[in-house]
Assembly symmetry: C2
DNA sequence: TTGTTAAATGAATGAATATTTATTTATTTT
DNA sequence: AAAATAAATAAATATTCATTCATTTAACAA
């Protein structure tokens, strides 16, 4: 029995993400991926059943790594301001350490894979986040509101900042990097919106 | 001289948007588009120079229609709360009347067309929006903050709500439609965040 | 009616795509 | 060292892609 070359397997995963971020799913092909890894296309079909399988499996792995990163040291029992701060911290850190991840997920969110992937697998994660909000409301820390309203205010501004930062330019076209100051200033305003 | 069939031209535009929203740019092809319109592929090459030209021209037209819709009855001289309310109203109305548009632009934002399209053409529009914020700060209606922070708080929650609405399901998986009440509740919280 | 012009077409083109095949290579087990 | 097994490959296949070509069709001008 010959062993599967784990370095090669890792390389495939990494290059796939790179290529999809660079060219979009539209410009991503099995042949290009093989060439980028300097391996035979056929090898890809040993690792994965087909193109779809490759994309789905890689995405699920990355999703899991991301939820893990986001949940680090977080508990739905934390106080509202502590908990939300931790969430912002974790998401900020993850975006910095995995600069391609948000772009990668953007690709999948705006593709035919969305329904398969992004809606299903994260349900446990979402439950926890829902619980956190419910607790905060019950404690009277924030106003009562639907989960979707909460989520839209609590996180949409954060991801918009991260996106602008990674695109590297501000809305007026000038160069742009999110500083810690700007980031936490935004956080303060979000807390102001939600707190009772 | 035979006249170009304007109904056919319109059909091509509409079906192109439909297909891109459904399958992504990745799954969009000239042959599929022709088949969907029940015309010859060659006809597409009478209307448009090539695939790129088709995508770019259609996008520019839709962008113009959208900025027009968003700017209706708005002026950067309006008071902060009135002006932002009008912006939310216009964007909400546009999203309702053109349910595919946000999804369509999402496709392009996460593609190689982004730099060509979404950064260039809207600059006048962005200038106006920047002016509106600057005025609000000068009048002391809102706190001082960078444009990107303002934008992230003022509009990212809105678009997140619209997206959830159009996906038709809430974060916990239950069916979801944005009601006027939910929409304006979110608006109130956003105003609360920004106002001095 | 006839000629002119561009719209519209069906059927090709070659290039790129995903996937499969037959074969070779490396590693473990006997 | 030989047999067994799966990894890895190079080369082929069938399909889909964007684009073009030769031809027909419709509308107007003479």
């Amino acid at each position: 029995m010959r062993l599967r070359d784990t370095e090669k397997v890792q390389l495939v995963k990494q290059k796939a993400i790179e290529l999809i971020v660079k060219d979009g799913l539209e410009g991503f092909s099995m042949n290009k991926l093989a060439k980028a890894c300097q391996i035979s296309v056929a090898t890809l079909y040993i690792y994965y059943k087909d193109r779809d399988d490759l994309i789905v499996k890689i995405t699920i792995e990355e999703l899991e790594s991301m939820t893990q990163g986001i949940m680090k040291d977080f508990s739905p029992e934390m106080s509202f301001e502590q908990g939300l701060h931790k969430q912002w911290e974790n998401r900020y850190a993850f975006a910095k350490n995995h600069p391609q991840m948000n772009l990668f997920f953007d690709q999948l969110r705006s593709s035919s894979y969305q329904s398969t992937l992004l809606s299903d697998s994260i349900s446990a994660f979402k439950m926890t986040m829902g619980q956190f909000m419910t607790n905060a409301i019950e404690r009277g820390e924030i106003e009562e509101m639907p989960l979707d309203v909460y989520w839209s205010i609590a996180f949409a501004p954060l991801y918009n900042l991260i996106r602008l930062d990674q695109e590297g330019k501000s809305l007026d076209g000038s160069p742009f990097k999110v500083t810690d100051a700007v980031f936490w200033k935004t956080f303060d305003l979000v807390v102001k919106a939600l707190k009772k």
